[in-house]
């Protein structure tokens, strides 16, 4: 998952409207990869007006990058475009979770794909009791998050 995704997604549950953005990373430190890419300045300028700067800086800090200035500069020069592109597109979070600071809902990230689906009540009851390491249990042997009744049945069959 790129940090741009983190910057555009909020918690989406009914009733959880205040303070539902940004989600905080949990357990993402060891799971950060850097994948170099070609820079497209048009793209960076395209997303720039829609970014939440502070959330982006905080997210970058959480995964150990402090290259961006704390305040959004007025001028967009080549250097800024380069740094922004690095933070937005080249830092990948492959495994871990994001947590809503309001309802404490956990949005797991597995194989670079975040899952912001389950219902908050159920997940609070279920996830809050678990250390994050157990999030791995949500996946079957191949590392896919399972939530179809069939796949659970299959996993059970395998375990049995």
């Amino acid at each position: 998952m790129h940090l741009i995704t983190h910057n555009l997604l909020a918690r989406n549950a009914k009733g959880c409207t205040t303070n539902s953005f940004p989600l905080a990373f949990r357990d993402a430190h060891g799971q950060v990869e850097i994948q170099e890419q070609d820079i497209n300045p048009d793209f960076v300028c395209n997303v720039l007006p829609r970014l939440e700067w502070k959330a982006l800086i905080d997210a970058a800090c959480q995964v150990g990058d402090e290259s961006l200035p704390a305040e959004q500069p007025n001028m967009t020069d080549d250097e800024l475009v380069q740094k922004l592109h690095y933070v937005l597109m080249e830092i990948h979070i492959t495994e871990g979770a994001m947590v809503c600071s309001n309802c404490e809902h956990i949005c797991p990230i597995s194989n670079s794909i975040p899952n912001s689906k389950p219902d908050p009540k159920d997940s609070m009851e279920y996830f809050s009791t678990l250390p994050v390491a157990h999030l791995a249990d949500m996946t079957d042997g191949n590392g896919h998050v399972m939530y179809g009744a069939n796949s659970v049945a299959k996993k059970r069959a395998r375990v049995d």
Binding site: M1, H2, I4, T5, N7, L8, L9, A10, R11, N12, A13, F21, Q37, D38, N40, P41, D42, F43, C45, N46, V47, R50, E52, M89, N111, S112, I113, P114, N115, S116, K117, P118, D119, D122, S123, Y126, D137, M138, N142, G143, H144, V145, M146, Y147, G148, A149, S151, V152
Partner: protein, 480 residues
């Protein structure tokens, strides 16, 4: 745009299209022209029913043949179109046409200023082809000789001529007719003559994106040609951001990314995007096509409970919503009125993930929700491109109106016909720069309320795509 007369400096070009997806040709041309900021003016064939039939641009359904005469401001525009439009086979400088040999040759003589400069010393090659009728070698030679009055003195060069001349005869389709009623030589609707400008190079992409050669695909992956047409309808170009809310195996993501756009995908079922290997399947295919860098992000969520922090994010939304035949659309929520309702089975075991319940998502509700979602998520001028399946006998143009809302305007509606049903590629543009909030996703409830409790068949104004799944599995039988 369409009703303006062509600028005086324009030149006429003969377009030869692939003989498929008739209704997609003009929308594709217009999209690519809009993307590159120029206009096209269709000179022939015009719509015989339209009052404004000199520049009959609006209605093109009438056109079935693969030939079209179009005025462009410059040859560079023709080359741009040929390099990007999937349905263009070739573009020719238009010299003459006619519904008989006499008319064609008379027109060709009037067009002499166009070909005069090639008379003296230009090597050439002459191509003769027919649509709906093959032209024998002997007749080909006769036809070429009938142009001898042009008196071209240059060498005939088959390998690398300086110019290629093309002559095409267009016949009506005589498939299924009796032998005596079949097309006869020379009884064509129209014949065309011109000089080759450029061959369409974008058609080769169909082979590149062939689903069978793709690293990762599923049983509902979109065929390559249509995925490319959809990408063109989004006006994909470098730096733009495109979103697919029913991504599945990502067919449209690869083609839009190929044209330089960055793609975000989401799906209610993340397994579709992942596949079985460690690296998500969508990323593996994207890598195969060299566009992995432009997959902005993937996320699992139900689009009716989408987590977008804000609207106005995307330049385009392109999607093939599941319509319930091979894959049913689902949204989060519990089914109502279920006879075989399960009883509560006790708390979930600790090693089982939470599985949110899903319920079917009715197609007409999905379509109108999608238009409203697009109004929220698109930037002003952004486009929504999606397929809508319809029952051929029941479809009426107002069906599309039923899902529209303020600020959104229909740009194109192209049918891919499968007989008793078809699917329409709908292109809708966000015309407003006003900001709209996220939609409420309650079309289903609204529909239920307006139907006033009448369950089946009572709603005269229901669009033909409503309850498409039921109609499909009843083989589109007419109501008794």
């Amino acid at each position: 745009m369409s009703s303006q007369p062509p600028p005086s400096s324009s030149t006429d070009y003969l377009f030869v299209f692939a003989e498929a997806h008739n209704e997609f040709r003009v929308p594709e041309l217009r999209s690519i022209a809009e993307l590159h900021g120029f206009s096209i003016h269709i000179k022939y064939p015009w719509d015989s029913q339209s009052s404004d039939n000199r520049e009959g641009n609006a209605v093109h359904q009438f056109v079935n043949g693969p030939f079209m005469v179009i005025a462009l401001e410059s040859e560079a525009h023709a080359r741009t179109l040929a390099s990007r439009c999937i349905l263009i086979r070739s573009i020719w400088e238009f010299w003459a046409r006619g519904s008989s040999y006499d008319e064609l040759h008379a027109n060709n003589l009037t067009a002499k200023p166009k070909w005069e400069r090639y008379v003296a010393n230009t090597s050439f090659k002459f191509l003769v082809a027919g649509h709906n009728r093959s032209i024998s070698q002997r007749r080909q030679r006769e036809i070429m000789e009938s142009f001898s009055y042009m008196d071209f003195l240059g060498l005939i060069e088959l390998k690398s001529p300086e110019i290629v001349l093309g002559y095409f005869e267009e016949y009506v389709s005589d498939r299924g007719k009796l032998v005596e009623d079949r097309n006869k030589d020379g009884e064509f609707i129209q014949a065309y003559f011109g000089r080759l400008i450029v061959e369409g190079t974008a058609r080769a992409l169909i082979g590149k994106f062939d689903v069978k050669k793709r690293e990762y695909f599923g049983n509902t992956s979109m065929e390559a040609e249509i995925s490319l047409l959809m990408a063109n309808q989004t006006l994909a170009s470098p730096g733009k951001i495109v979103y697919d809310p029913f991504m599945g195996t990502g067919s449209m993501a690869y083609t839009t990314a190929h044209f330089g756009a960055y793609v975000f995908g989401s799906d209610i079922d993340g397994r579709q995007m992942r596949g079985k290997a460690q690296t998500p399947g969508v990323l593996r295919s994207a890598r195969q096509y060299g566009v992995a860098d432009r997959i902005l992000g993937l996320c699992t969520f139900d689009v009716t409970r989408n987590p977008w922090r804000t609207g106005g994010l995307f330049d385009a939304i392109v999607t093939d919503p599941p319509y319930g035949v091979r894959a049913g659309a689902k949204r989060l929520g519990r089914k109502t009125n279920r006879e075989d309702k399960h009883t509560f089975v006790g708390p979930r075991a600790a090693d089982e993930p939470y599985i949110p319940p899903t319920k079917p998502y009715e197609l007409s509700a999905l379509a109108s929700d999608l238009v409203r979602l697009a109004r929220y998520l698109l930037k002003p001028g952004g486009r929504l491109v999606f397929f809508l399946p319809t029952v051929t006998d029941e479809y009426r143009p107002v069906d599309i109106e039923s899902m529209m809302c303020d600020g959104m305007e229909l740009v194109a509606n192209s049918l891919q016909d499968f007989g008793s049903w078809g699917r329409r590629l709908i292109t809708i543009k966000k015309m407003t720069s006003e900001e709209y909030g996220p939609p409420s996703f309650d079309s289903e409830e609204r529909d239920a309320a307006s139907a006033g409790g009448e369950e089946e068949g009572g709603d005269e104004n229901a669009p033909a795509h409503k309850n498409f799944r039921e109609k499909y599995f009843q083989a589109f039988m007419k109501k008794q």
